[in-house]
């Protein structure tokens, strides 16, 4: 309240002072202008008096200035600056001893004074001097001051009264409303209602406020109910959670136990593993030892083998001559006793010959085998199939005097192979083809060399009697013969297999039933 009054008072004061200052300023100007006008008028009126030297008339004219009570002096000077007329009549020298030089009026020396030339047309007749006091100004000043004070006092009083009145109808209800709002938010008590005063906008506001409170209260109740509901639910849930927590704890314990078991098992496994490792090591050690033994044994065996080979070689070699001797002797005996002995004894001798021959053949084969064994260590060299076949054919022709058709197709002409080995292979294959020929048709042998999957293949095909199925498993074994009607020791295929396999290849048999055989050799 006080603040309001002070502010409005201050504002008012400022406004009043502003107006006051403005008024004074304009009043000063106006006064000056008036004096100026007065001077001009008086001067104009005095021209005739000056022109006609009528002092009385001039005085009369100046005397009219008494209508302006603030004029304290007026003097009319003639063109020679001599005093002609004055107002008031009893004006003393002192007052107007100093005549201002410049024409015009102004505020000087505490008075308003000035000088006005008197002219008639272009003719300069004299000068009029006017002097006025500032009483009017002072009176104005006082008047305004009074007015200002009065207005201010009145306004403040009015403001005070109005504020009192208004506070009753505006401020108080608003304060009451705000107090109610504060109380509500303070105590959270939504049952509080504001008291309605009057039927105006504030009353309306109060009503609206109360409505709002109703709503808030209702919402608050609903909220509380909901809250309680929620709390119950939460309590239930809490219970459930506790139970499940207990169960969880138990499960955890189980897991923990299981864990323990597992770790124990793990430990055992670890132990077992260690044992196994140890065992492994042992085994390895043993294996090493064994291997060493085996290698040693191997060496021994090889030595034995070599010894055996040598033995066989030596034996066969050495046995050859006694056997030849035996053959010879038996022949001689047969011839000698051809006529003497009875046929049965001759039969015995024949049988002895046969046995001897068999023995010889066996020995030869053994020698052959040993040769082969020996030749297995032979180095590979570049050999020509054509050359080998030529040599083999010569050997065979020498042994067999019959028509043999050999058809050769040598796609691969040369091979890096041990000479003797290859020769043996070819000799044996061809020999077999001829040996086990079919009686129904002439011998036809097809020899084909080609490359298959990067390996050199030798294909020998004949139209002999073929080999029965049941014999196939033991086809390449040593000393296995399936046809007894022909000479042979049964080691040919064995030899071929050994030679070929020693060079990293293999031999396969493809049957043509009883129409012949096909031997496929991967060299």
């Amino acid at each position: 309240m006080l603040v309001n009054l002070l502010t409005s008072g201050a504002v008012l004061l400022v406004t009043c002072i502003a107006f006051f200052a403005y008024e004074l300023y304009t009043f000063r100007q106006t006064t000056l202008t008036k004096l100026n006008s007065l001077g001009e008028i008086t001067a104009a009126n005095s021209t005739a008096a000056l022109a006609f030297d009528d002092v009385a008339a001039a005085n009369e004219i100046l005397a009219a200035l008494h209508a302006e009570p603030n004029i304290v002096a007026a003097v009319l000077y003639d063109s020679l600056e001599n005093r002609f007329a004055q107002y008031p009549i009893d004006l003393d020298e002192e007052q107007v001893s100093i005549i201002p030089e410049k024409v015009g009026f102004g505020y000087r020396r505490g008075h308003l004074e000035g000088v006005q030339p008197v002219r008639q047309g272009a003719k300069f007749l004299g000068t009029l001097y006017l002097k006025s006091n500032l009483k009017a100004l002072e009176e104005r000043f006082l008047l305004y001051g009074m007015v200002v004070l009065m207005v201010m006092a009145f306004s403040i009083l009015l403001a005070y009264i109005l504020s009192q009145l208004l506070s009753k109808s505006i401020s108080r209800p608003i304060l009451a409303l705000s107090k109610a709002a504060q109380a509500i938010s303070h105590r959270q008590d939504y049952s509080v209602r504001a008291v309605r005063e009057g039927n105006d906008e504030l009353g309306f506001l109060t009503d609206a406020f109360n409505d709002m409170l109703e709503q808030i209260q209702a919402k608050d109740h609903a909220l509380n109910r909901f809250n309680r509901n929620l709390e119950n639910k939460v309590a239930e849930r809490n219970l459930e959670l506790e139970i499940s927590l207990k169960e969880q704890k138990e499960a955890q314990r189980e897991v923990f136990d299981k864990n323990k078991q597992l770790s124990q098992a793990l430990e055992e496994l670890q132990r077992t593993k260690d044992e196994l490792v140890n065992l492994n090591n042992d085994l390895e050690q043993r294996v090493e030892e064994r291997t060493k033994e085996v290698i040693a044994k191997n060496h021994e065996l090889e030595k034995v083998n070599i010894d055996l080979d040598n033995f066989i070689y030596t034996a066969s070699h050495d046995l050859k001559s006694p056997i030849s001797n035996l053959e010879g002797l038996i022949r001689i005996v047969k011839e000698e006793l051809a006529n003497i002995t009875n046929p049965t004894h001759l039969e015995f001798l024949d049988m002895m010959e046969i046995s001897i021959t068999k023995l010889r053949n066996t020995i030869l084969d053994l020698a052959e085998i040993t040769k082969v064994q020996k030749n297995l260590e032979q180095d590979a060299e570049l050999v020509s199939f054509k050359q080998i076949l030529h040599d083999v054919k010569e050997d065979l022709m020498f042994n067999n005097q019959m028509a043999v058709a050999i058809n050769q197709k040598l796609e691969v002409e040369e091979i890096y192979y041990p000479v003797h080995g290859l020769r043996s292979v070819l000799y044996n294959l061809l020999s077999n083809a001829i040996k086990y020929r079919s009686g129904e048709r002439p011998v036809q042998i097809n020899i084909h060399t080609f490359k298959e999957n990067g390996a050199v293949v030798l294909l020998v095909e004949d139209n002999g009697m073929g080999i029965e199925k049941r014999h196939l498993p033991k086809l390449f074994s040593m000393f296995k013969r399936f046809h007894s009607h022909v000479d042979g020791t049964g080691i040919g295929l064995y030899i071929i297999k050994r030679i070929v396999e020693n060079q990293g290849g293999e031999i396969q048999y493809i049957s043509k039933g009883d129409q012949g055989s096909i031997f496929k050799v991967f060299l």
Partner: protein, 187 residues
């Protein structure tokens, strides 16, 4: 009027220093002080009177002061108006010995002794917008406009505004104010 004062002083000085022989001569040359003042007044009248356009057109047409009858001013009137202008109108003096000669003046100083002659002159220049001035005692009754009078040793004048109005002359109130207004019905 400072000139008058000056003149007065001059005159006094001259009178003091030149006596006897000088006086008659002087009296011949210099008009009476009164007439000097009246001359000046005549000049002044030109400032306070308005003539109609027809008589004094705007421009630099001369404003003529005429004197009919004996010239009492001597050469003084000429001195007074020498080089002076009123509203651009140069001033000049004309002298007429006979009424019949009067023409082309704006102010006429009638110095005729006979009232009848004065009346005659006034009739003659009626309607010509001439400011008539005289110091004859019956001037205004005869229809004159301004009459010089002497009051307490001061030269003053009487004016008949009706006369000047009927001649379409406007006399400034400032002048009228200084004068004694006389209307014929009063007299």
């Amino acid at each position: 009027m400072s000139i008058l004062k000056v003149l007065a002083n001059q005159l006094i000085l001259v009178l003091l220093f030149t006596n006897n022989l000088a006086v008659p001569l002087y009296a011949q040359r210099q008009p009476h002080l009164n007439y000097q003042i009246k001359a000046v007044y005549l000049y002044n009248f030109t400032q306070f009177v308005e003539w109609p356009e027809t008589v004094l057109p705007a421009g630099n047409a001369p404003l003529v002061i005429g004197v009919v009858g004996e010239d009492p001013f001597g050469g003084y009137l000429d001195e007074v108006v020498q080089g002076e202008e009123i509203n651009g109108h140069p001033l000049s003096i004309r002298r007429f010995s006979q009424t019949e000669e009067i023409q082309g003046c704006h102010i006429l100083f009638i110095n005729l002794p006979d009232a009848a002659k004065i009346e005659n002159t006034l009739d003659r220049i009626k309607g010509q917008s001439v400011l008539t001035v005289s110091d004859h005692h019956e001037f205004l009754e005869k229809g004159g406009m301004i009459k010089f009078i002497s009051v307490a040793n001061k030269i003053q004048f009487q004016i008949n505004p009706d006369a000047s109005n009927s001649a379409e002359l406007k006399i400034s109130s400032k002048l009228l104010r200084l004068a004694e207004i006389v209307t014929l019905s009063n007299h």
